[in-house]
Symmetry: C2
Subunit: 282 residues, 2 copies
């Protein structure tokens, strides 16, 4: 692991790091905030998965998470959203919603993406192993996951797939049912092929319909979000959770859009919600 | 005034706007955060002056001021750091510390800069008049000023020059004595010429030596700031304030550098400090 930068912030250290990812076969950059803590302390780890077009930098710059992570004693990890670099396939038209910056947190099976686009393995195996090895304060028995938009899709699907590993799961403006919306059709089709049974393992609503369960979920969604009606469709998650008996706190936030202005406003609520669940077993 | 963007954040509105500045003779872009408030309420106005290379966007993205401005009921205004656009002179070598992004909050008298580089008039006359006209919630009888680095220089010098107008003055890592450091030599010489008596009106330490007074000052300075020894020299402000009897709270923050990680960490303390002073007369 190579240190790109470290900066003191809110009494802790905001770092940006780079490593050679075995899962993706590329170098990957990510950020980690380690709050102030006593020597030898073990702190829970919150994963934040970013949305389309983002890198680790967007939430690191604009997420306003450090103050509360320092107060609550949470490590905050922000991975990139796709493999990058020479030889990494991109959308043939350079679109923003597929390819670079748009890995959708799946392991691609379709050429030419299968070679590097293995963001599910990266986020659930490769990077956690690195964090465990390189950040001695990280308590990998207490992890939680949140994300925004495409990263909200990632957080929900990964949280539903590994309910024992992630003690809390939440999302800002998530894509809740990629199988039913244009962004998801393009991404899941492009990365996984046209067998829709395969898609269901990477679709939060379908996972719940197929029996996946978590203790509860928190979702904030701006009602002035341009993507709400066509791509996000939170009512589909609401229906699935109601049918499955999963307690979902879905908050429609009046006047908020899809931006980091919304995320930063509600970040504190999410971190507190995560901390409550992460500290229960601590 | 043209609205570039507005986004709901922390219950208020973060806006970015553009207007034709009479002072600078160019279009200028700035940001204003208006916190949630009751119809007809009048709210104090905090000015934030940015440092070298910045625009309004740096603090707007990374300053983490909105949460507390919402809590405390403060309007937050962030101007640009220089005129920009076609026909605006720049440093002949394109250096970062003079010309574009480096207006130093003075009214230039030297060609070719005198034509557009009138940031002192812009920040103290032009933009306040626009804010008063366009933002009915702004109470222009209750203003305060803060800034970072070159903007800390701006906040201190403007605060010292107009002590009745700004009810609170604070800075993050300010250039306290531009007459005594390389950044200042280049900027004050380039904009104002070589008469050092003129420089003294734009140098916080010299202003205090020459009799300018404010009720008190708050300065946060990271001790791991690369510019500390050569450009910032906070001990010169400490000496001047001690000699003048100005209560200065100068906090050397261990491990902090010159970045927005430092600013965002201590922004809350500064906003509370401003609010106390702005609300006294309210």
């Amino acid at each position: 692991m190579e240190t790109v930068s470290t900066n003191r912030a809110f009494g802790g250290v905001q770092g940006v790091y780079k490593h050679a990812s075995a899962a993706c076969g590329t170098d990957m950059t990510f950020s980690v905030y380690v709050p102030p803590h006593e020597a030898g302390a073990k702190l829970p780890v919150v994963w934040y998965l970013s949305g389309l077009t983002c890198t680790h930098a967007n939430v690191t710059d604009k997420g306003e998470y450090r103050r509360l992570c320092a107060e609550l004693g949470l490590i905050f990890v922000a991975p990139d959203t796709s493999p990058r670099g020479e030889g990494v396939a991109d959308d043939p038209d350079g679109a923003y919603d597929f390819g670079l910056g748009a890995g959708f947190y799946v392991d691609a099976t379709q050429a030419p993406f299968a070679q590097h686009y293995r963001m599910l393995s990266y986020v659930t195996q490769d990077l956690p192993a690195l964090i465990a090895a390189e950040f001695p304060a990280a308590d990998m028995t207490r992890q939680s996951i949140m994300g925004h938009s495409m990263g909200g899709h990632g957080a929900l699907t990964i949280g539903l797939t590994f309910p024992d590993r992630y003690k809390a799961v939440s999302a800002f403006a998530p894509i809740v049912a990629p199988s039913q919306v244009p962004w998801g059709h393009k991404a899941l089709g492009g990365y996984l092929g046209e067998d829709r049974a395969v898609w269901r393992k990477h679709d939060a609503v379908a996972l719940i319909e197929d029996g996946a369960r978590v203790a509860d979920l928190l979702v904030d969604q701006g009602d002035a979000d341009n993507f709400l009606a066509e791509q996000l469709k939170p009512h589909l998650l609401e229906q699935a959770c109601a049918a499955a008996g999963i307690p979902l706190t879905l908050r429609l936030q009046p006047g908020y859009d899809h931006s980091y202005y919304c995320i930063s406003t509600f970040m504190g609520d999410h971190l507190r919600w995560h901390a409550e669940r992460l500290m229960r077993d601590g």
